[in-house]
């Protein structure tokens, strides 16, 4: 099986005096959809950037393995697709031009590209908008295009930073269907969100606040353990204790 494990041990990261991550440890394995949940400023984006090697941690260690063999950081990046939080597509390039661009960057063969493109267009319903520039897509379509570009390379791991932010409810549901389908195909999916209601759709959640981990586990188990009815309540109660 395509079994990828990401092991994070005691990672810390400071930006000047701000402590973005405080001694964080967690472990992710293929087969689940992980949700990293927390309000803005919790350190979610920093965590993703450190996992991808776009930033160096001040202390701590990250190791990757694929089918029980150790992976170097650059080999890990080869099998990983990333969708940043900020609008990172090119406003003047059309949907098709984006796909062509990433096809070349990922070195995908023409046959694989054709098959993958048709498949993805069908799921995302973007086939009618192939010629439309990314800048003229709606929020939901824009995010779906970002996801398409990420999925194009058939990754083993996907890191999605607030993918549903600013997306209408219907598109959000479609988006979640796509994520669950990816997990079923054996992709390790990590996503961040600030929407507490989305936490319950994840296979496992990591609750973060101010650079620290408040709790991890399956959503329902976690809620029962903390004796709260929702993640909103969880964060409110935690905030009150401080």
């Amino acid at each position: 099986m395509n079994n990828v494990v990401i092991d994070i041990e005691n990672i810390s990261k400071n930006f000047g005096r701000t402590k973005a991550l405080k001694n964080v440890s967690m472990r992710f394995c293929t087969g689940k959809l992980y949700g990293i949940i927390g309000p803005a400023g919790a350190g979610k984006t920093t965590l993703f950037r450190i996992i991808l090697g776009l930033m160096a941690a001040d202390s701590g260690k990250i190791s990757f393995s694929f089918e029980n063999k150790n992976l170097s950081a650059s080999s890990f990046r080869e099998i990983t697709a990333y969708m940043p939080q900020t609008q990172s597509l090119y406003a003047d390039l059309s949907v098709e031009e984006h796909l062509e661009f990433f096809k070349d960057l990922y070195g995908i063969s023409p046959q694989t590209y054709r098959r993958k493109k048709d498949e993805l267009l069908q799921i995302t319903h973007l086939d009618k908008f192939l010629d439309r520039p990314a800048g003229k897509l709606s929020g939901g379509m824009y995010k779906k295009l970002g996801l398409m570009c990420a999925l194009l390379r058939s990754p083993k791991v996907m890191l999605l930073d607030e993918p549903t932010n600013g997306v209408d409810p219907i598109s959000r549901r479609e988006f979640w269907d796509m994520l669950h389908a990816s997990v079923a195909e054996g992709i390790l999916v990590l996503m961040t969100t600030a929407y507490m209601d989305e936490a319950e759709r994840c296979g496992e959640v990591v609750l973060m606040e101010e650079g620290g981990v408040l709790g991890t586990g399956e959503p329902r188990v976690l809620l029962e353990r903390e004796k709260v009815s929702s993640f909103d309540e969880f964060f409110l109660r935690r905030g009150g204790l401080r």
């Binding site: 930033m55 160096a56 990983t80 969708m83 940043p84 900020t86 031009e97 661009f101």
Partner: protein, 373 residues
């Protein structure tokens, strides 16, 4: 993992090319602006001074004084007109109706004929520094000519010998011939530095660099792919300047195209690397524009010999000007248009630009990080 894949570099290049062709601002900046700059600078930068209004009062009113005024008028440089009193002429200079004033004293002819060297006063508008040295030069010539004219002597006999000056390479001392070859440097600097710095900063600002860096594309591929379209645009800018120089301003071209093109390509490379370096250290478009103006455009115009001759600068500025490739490029460009020196004569500027290219590129590779910090 391969360091350089042609396919990935080509993908970045094609993407960048689409950006350029869909953005009217970039195209205007790259193609229309050079044309306008050549037209404007070519027509405005004029070191030759002509048709200077000269007020004069003639207190002698003799045949000699009339001939003196005639000599002024028969050169193209002065347009003499008579005023009644010196005060009136002075008022004209103050109000800038006249640039200069000539006062011929009462006994001019008498003193002249008895070889007593009469004094003739010239008042010049010293506040207008740009034309003053040209006017003083003309006065010397007019002095000799006027003496001959008043004495009714052919010019050859007046002196024991005469300097017969012939200006090599630019026989009419046309200042445009001198200034236009330098304009190419200014335009390439503008297009290469500004556009490159902006395009890479845009990727950082919009967040697309984060996406790019998470793909297998390497730093070298990003740099090559992104710089290539701007190299092409800069080269188009050069072609526009060259055509305008030849067709509109009728410049001759004495040199070798191989030398000029090699110098141009090397110069473009220098400035693309400089633009790249600016974008690497600034990451923000606004900051990049300021850097580009301060370390790119200003020295290119001011310290390159384009406007102010380098050999008359204080020594420290001569050294500073050697830091910028523009100085060397302008040297080669002027030379190739007018003088046509060989590779052997031009090895110093070529070597200098080459060394600068290596330093700039190394600096870029050293500072470019695949991280977001």
């Amino acid at each position: 993992m391969t360091i350089f894949s042609r396919r990935r570099a080509r993908a970045v290049f094609l993407k960048e090319f689409k950006h350029v062709f869909r953005d009217p601002f970039t195209l205007i900046m790259a193609l229309l602006l050079p044309f306008l700059i050549v037209l404007i600078l070519g027509n405005c930068i004029e070191f030759n001074v002509q048709s200077i209004d000269l007020a004069y009062t003639d207190h002698d009113r003799s045949e000699s004084s009339r001939k003196l005024v005639e000599t002024f008028g028969s050169s193209d440089y002065f347009r003499p007109y008579m005023v009644e009193t010196p005060e009136q002429g002075f008022a004209d200079v103050v109000s800038e109706h006249a640039k200069a004033m000539l006062i011929i004293p009462p006994d001019f002819e008498k003193e002249f004929m008895t070889n007593r060297n009469p004094d003739v006063q010239i008042l010049l508008d010293g506040a207008d520094n740009s034309s003053i040295s040209a006017i003083s030069n003309y006065l010397n010539t007019i002095n000799t000519t006027a003496v001959n004219k008043i004495r009714d002597m052919p010019p050859e006999d007046s002196n024991l010998f005469a300097f017969k000056t012939r200006y090599m390479f630019n026989p009419e001392l046309n200042s445009r011939w001198f200034s236009i070859p330098g304009i190419a440097a200014v335009i390439i600097a503008l297009v290469a530095i500004m556009l490159t710095a902006l395009t890479i900063c845009k990727e950082w600002e919009q967040g697309s660099m984060e996406m790019l860096l998470s793909t297998p594309v390497t730093s070298l591929e990003i740099m090559v792919g992104k710089l290539f379209p701007y190299a092409v645009l800069s080269f188009c800018g050069f072609i526009i300047v060259y055509l305008a120089a030849r067709l509109i301003f009728n410049l001759p071209f004495a040199g070798s195209y191989t030398i000029l093109l090699s110098a141009t390509l090397l110069f473009i490379f220098d400035y693309l690397a400089l633009g790249l370096y600016i974008s690497i250290i600034s990451h923000e478009q606004q900051v990049a524009v300021q850097y580009a103006a301060a370390i790119g455009l200003l020295p290119t115009a001011m310290l390159s010999g384009f406007i102010f001759p380098i050999q008359y600068m204080p020594e420290i500025f001569q050294w500073i000007s050697a830091l910028f490739p523009a100085r060397f490029y302008i040297e080669i460009s002027r030379d190739q248009f007018l003088k046509a020196s060989s590779w052997g004569d031009l090895w110093i500027p070529f070597t200098a630009m080459f060394v600068q290219a290596i330093i700039l590129m190394s600096a870029c590779l050293w500072r470019f990080r695949r991280t977001l910090e």
